[in-house]
């Protein structure tokens, strides 16, 4: 690999992507910030960030190349593998936050002066932001060569900030197997409702959450029990709660509550969630995030269930009776 890198002229870095705003990138990456290390894969379509937790939870944020104004990946002719590395995610998020800091500060100052702005569309770039006035800043992600640091170069109103972040050799990037051919159920609904549902369960301080998809009422049930009592949330199918609903057979699995909860940032920003479970009990949550300009990005989470034990089954059965 080293020899091929040597053949790339310095003015042609292996990877270079320029964006005029880091907001979407930051938002998407923040959703998978439950683990400090993140695995990055560079493809022609975009950047794929994968975070995982103890091999039982995995979160993938895909930054489509449409999020960038320029996106170039100069793969050597003879290379068969895609460049990949590991890096520290909090550091990257920190670096991305620098971008727009001056703009944000200016906006905050304006907000104080003008209360109208404070409650309406404060998050949108207004007509007088640097971006619209034609003096946009740029955020450039650059990966010179395999094994080099990932540089984030932020240029904004005359200030240029360069952050070099060390990259690491990737660990085995096995993803959690999810069998799309063997789906037991598939539900599409508003992501917000999933978030509401978790916030209903959270006060009982639960350790685990049981997710059941049923062919008859209540169709989808999330339940948990903790020291304070137990709680369950039912989604009845009657009022367009569930956009798509197909269940092949009864599916009940338990997951660690804290892990599912760590996807809540994604539930907050996403519009829709596709809720799927396969024959092995793996849960997949795929979030569709609409970004400004109408394009969509996807966040993908997978969870490995607890091993189902006999007494769990009986407990669930008992809950059903109540």
């Amino acid at each position: 690999m080293a020899s091929t890198v040597g053949s790339v002229p310095p003015e042609q870095p292996l990877f270079r992507a320029v964006a005029s705003s880091t907001r979407q990138i930051y938002q998407l990456l923040k959703c998978i910030s439950f683990s400090p290390k993140v695995h990055v894969q560079l493809t022609h379509d975009g950047m794929r960030f994968t975070a995982e937790h103890s091999r039982v939870m995995q979160g993938v944020a895909f930054l489509d190349q449409s999020l960038f104004t320029t996106y170039t990946l100069n793969l050597p002719e003879d290379s068969r593998t895609q460049p990949q590395f590991q890096m520290n995610l909090p550091a990257l998020l920190e670096a991305l936050q620098i971008f727009g800091a001056t703009d944000a500060a200016a906006r905050a100052a304006k907000t104080d002066a003008d209360p109208y702005r404070s409650n309406l569309r404060n998050y949108r770039p207004d007509a007088f932001s640097h971006q619209t006035l034609g003096m946009p800043g740029t955020c450039c992600l650059m990966y010179e060569a395999d094994g080099e640091a990932l540089s984030v170069v932020l240029e904004e109103s005359g200030v240029k900030t360069k952050c070099n972040m060390t990259t690491y050799t990737p660990e085995s990037p096995d993803s959690i197997p999810f069998d799309r051919e063997d789906l037991t159920f598939k539900i599409i609904m508003q992501a917000r409702w999933l978030l509401d549902c978790l916030s209903e369960l959270a006060p009982m301080d639960p350790k685990r959450i049981t997710i059941s998809a049923l062919t008859n009422a209540p169709y989808l049930r999330l339940s948990s029990g903790g020291a304070l009592g137990s709680a369950s949330v039912d989604f009845s199918n009657s009022r367009d709660l569930l956009e798509t609903f197909s269940v092949r057979e009864r599916w009940t699995q338990g997951f660690k509550f804290d892990l599912v909860k760590s996807a809540s940032e994604a539930m907050r920003i996403a519009n829709k969630v596709s809720f799927r479970g396969d024959g092995q009990g793996v849960l997949s949550l795929q979030f569709m995030v609409e970004v400004e300009g109408g394009s969509v990005s996807f966040l993908d989470f997978r969870f490995v269930p607890y091993i189902t034990q006999e007494d769990d089954e009986s407990e669930t059965a008992e809950d059903e009776d109540d």
Binding site: R192, W193, D196, C197, E200, P203, M204, P218, L228, G229, S230, A231, S232, V233, D234, F235, S236, S238, R239, L241, D322
Partner: protein
């Protein structure tokens, strides 16, 4: 078997939430008592110096209310629940502020059922149906144990006033930070003073850090009604409790009425909302029989609500200086008693003796229902039983604390309260530290 079930509308849920939030400031646990005509939530704090009760009328407050009762006691059911769980259950759900779905996440109705059956899971079950079709079901465990009710002798409370809760709420804005006590006293016919202060650092070895002493004078006209028999009566209550009460009262916007007799007897605050009756009893200390609460010291210790009372009593005297109280000379006297026990050895002794303390605490707050209907539930703990047994007792029947009170009142011949002196022909400072109540009756303090 279902003991009872009721249904709340969204407004009902929010009214219940407000009540529970108020109760949570008194105790972690809340006692529920259900009868055919009403549902009562009560809480009593750890030091038993404050008691709160909210009674919801079954026909007005609930959209549906059905009481079945259980085999042993048909007429009422009681249990204790952990308030934090209840609060999270009835908490305010906000919609997504960025979208117009706000209405969707709010509550359509809330069905509550209490199931209690031997050998099966007894649960408080709340089912909340949201407008968007999501249904949440909570099951909370509860403990079947009788509630402790505080007793207030209304006929002895000669002093009373009532005022709009909003006015009180505004007064509270002037309370400084870090204060513990509120002293209510009327100066003359025009003004009522609300003085708030703290004793926290004053009693420690540290330098006095918080000598803040805020006095708010309120025109008598602000009160709807003001009847205080005696002049210069200082009645001191805990600000923390008072604040909790007024915050809730201001939500209802109703008129708060207070009635009390004298320091070291409870003060009652009450007000009504739509279908709900709120009543609070707060222990008081004050300028008249100041150190009468000594027994509490032993028990109090770490707990804020008790400790304060005591401290308030003892050192109220010196902190009192800034207020325009007309009797500065006698004030230090009760304090001296405390600090020089060698001079008056018998006085300090009750302080070190725990039994009077417990006796006193129970005597102040008498669980009201000590009748035989509790017998079946008696298998809880011995402690409860014992308490129940003793409950037959009335506050005024306890010789020990009242005697102490008397003693201290007598030893404070300041004329804080002229009536005492009128009744007392003996030299007050000659009194024995403890006395029988019957001996003391003749002073006219304890109207039978």
């Amino acid at each position: 078997m279902t003991v009872m079930r009721f249904t709340l509308s969204e407004e009902g849920v929010s009214a219940l939430r407000d009540a529970l939030a108020c109760l949570s400031k008194f105790s972690e646990e809340v006692s529920l008592e259900a009868k055919r005509d009403r549902l009562v939530f009560t809480a009593i704090n750890l030091s038993k110096s404050a008691y709160a009760s909210f009674a919801f009328a079954s026909h007005r407050f609930f959209s549906k209310y059905q009481y079945e009762g259980i085999a042993q006691h048909r007429d009422k059911f009681f249990c204790k629940l952990y308030n934090r769980a209840l609060l999270s259950l009835f908490r305010n759900r906000s919609g997504d502020p960025l979208h117009d779905r706000e209405r969707d996440t709010t509550i359509e109705r809330c069905d509550v059922a209490i199931i209690d059956e031997a050998g099966k899971k007894s649960r408080f079950i709340a089912k909340i149906v949201f407008r968007n079709g999501i249904t949440t079901k909570y099951q909370l465990p509860f403990e079947v144990s009788p509630p402790v009710h505080a007793k207030f002798e209304g006929d002895q409370a000669t002093n009373s006033w009532s005022i709009s809760s909003r006015t009180l709420r505004q007064l509270m804005d002037h309370f400084g930070p870090g204060i513990d006590y509120l002293d209510i006293h009327s100066e003359d016919d025009q003004v009522v003073n609300f003085t708030c202060f703290t004793e926290k650092v004053a009693n420690g070895e540290e330098v006095l850090k918080k000598p803040l002493h805020t006095s708010i004078a309120v025109e008598r006209d602000e009160f709807e009604r003001f009847t205080v028999e005696e002049d210069k009566l200082h009645i001191v209550i805990s600000v923390k409790d008072f604040r909790a009460i007024i915050q809730h009262a201001a939500l209802l916007g109703s008129e708060v009425s207070a009635s009390y007799s004298m320091p070291s007897k409870p003060m009652q605050l009450k007000y009504d909302g739509d279908g709900v009756k709120c009543e609070f009893l707060l222990m008081t200390v004050g300028e008249r029989g100041a150190p009468g609460q000594k027994g509490k010291k032993t028990r109090g210790g770490a707990k804020a609500p008790t400790g304060p009372q005591l401290e308030a009593t003892t050192s109220r005297a010196n902190s009192h200086a800034p207020t325009p109280a007309p009797q500065p000379t006698p004030q230090p006297q009760p304090r001296r008693q405390d600090q020089m026990p060698s001079l008056r050895p018998p006085i300090t002794r009750p302080t070190q003796r725990p039994p009077p303390a417990t006796l006193e605490s129970e005597s102040l707050f008498v669980p009201q229902d000590n009748d035989d209907q509790w017998a079946p539930v008696g298998d809880n703990e011995d402690e409860d039983e014992e308490e129940n047994d003793r409950l037959g007792w009335d506050a005024s029947g306890d010789p020990e604390p009242s005697a102490m009170k008397m003693r201290s009142m007598m030893s404070n011949p300041s004329g804080v309260r002229p009536r005492i002196e009128d009744g007392t022909n003996d030299n007050p400072s000659q009194f024995e530290p403890t006395q029988r109540l019957s001996d003391v009756r003749k002073f006219g303090l304890f109207g039978d």
